[in-house]
């Protein structure tokens, strides 16, 4: 029994250490479920760190980015959809918080310009090709 005492105490101690700062843990470590972690990861990569504005919260080492990662992982673990979490953040910080801004009046040129330019290019090309053929 004496020989077992140490492993037993250690076993009893484990859950306690896991409980302290459970959510804090999520800022720097992954979720158990790989599918959930992949979802969280994808979302974190397209959320802007608000302190260090050129970085995503996945890349940033700022405390606030850590808080945001913990929030994302906690909510994903609770079964929330990535889109809902993004919407929750946009409600508070505006479109600026995401690198994947939704289509709106301000972002419409960004989404439409490539198609317009491609269309213009095709139009010019067909015209000049036709003329050369004649």
């Amino acid at each position: 029994m004496k020989r077992l005492a140490l492993p037993l105490t250690l076993l009893a101690a484990l859950p306690a250490t896991a409980q302290t700062g459970d959510s804090d843990r999520y800022a720097y470590s992954q979720l158990r479920d790989p599918a959930q972690e992949a979802k969280a990861r994808d979302l974190m990569e397209e959320l802007r760190c608000l302190v260090c504005q050129g970085q995503s919260i996945a890349d940033s080492d700022a405390d606030m980015a850590a808080d945001m990662r913990a929030l994302v992982r906690e909510r994903i673990a609770a079964g929330e959809k990535p889109d809902d979490i993004r919407r929750w953040l946009i409600e508070r910080y505006g479109d600026y918080v995401t690198y994947d801004p939704p289509l709106g009046w301000a972002t419409a040129p960004l989404w439409l310009a490539p198609f317009l330019l491609l269309g213009a290019g095709i139009w010019l090309a067909t015209r000049s090709i036709r003329r050369r053929r004649r």
Partner: protein
């Protein structure tokens, strides 16, 4: 093809150069303002940071009197810079509640001893949850809450002497 069409690309290019040249002289404002202004304060309970006064509970903001919510931290230098202004507001009878972000009782106690203590209540926000819920992107930030729990104004960064009239006016309007 019409001759004048040949000039279009050059004109477009000149337009882009002009736009860039003009924008270069105007540094971009990178302040992220909260979209929660004009909306109801999210309900949150924060445990007291210090033993000598209570934390924050949602009922505080439905008592018919406006209050300030000051997001601060003892590790934040500009927070010390705004201490005299907060003291001035407190002296004029403004109720100021502090949300202490990622902080410890020892550090907050030492901070208040050194820079003064204008706070009616101090809640501990160890994971920055309330900060995120309010749409705050840094410390210090100050929110004016009216007597019915609506956020009526956000001040980003330290409050300076010339910001006080604006904050007092917002508090007056929120009455």
């Amino acid at each position: 093809m019409k001759r004048w069409l040949l000039w279009v690309p050059l004109l477009v290019f000149a337009g882009v150069v002009l736009l860039v040249a003009m924008e270069m002289h105007r540094p971009a404002d990178r302040t992220v303002f909260s979209r929660m202004v004009g909306k109801d304060l999210p309900a949150f309970d924060l445990k007291p940071m210090l033993a000598d006064r209570p934390g924050i509970e949602p009922a505080l903001y439905h008592q018919g009197k406006p209050r300030l919510v000051n997001i601060f931290a003892s590790w934040c230098v500009p927070c010390a810079a705004e201490a005299p202004e907060l003291a001035e507001l407190a002296k004029r009878g403004v109720a100021i509640d502090a949300v202490a972000v990622r902080d410890t009782p020892e550090d907050v106690g030492a901070f208040l001893k050194r820079w003064g203590d204008p706070y009616a209540r101090i809640g501990s926000d160890p994971m920055g949850r309330v900060q995120l819920a309010l749409g705050s992107s840094g410390v210090p930030e100050t929110f004016v809450i009216d007597g019915k729990g609506k956020i009526v104004k956000q001040h980003v960064g330290p409050i300076r002497e010339d910001d006080i009239p604006g904050i007092l006016a917002a508090l007056e309007d929120a009455r």
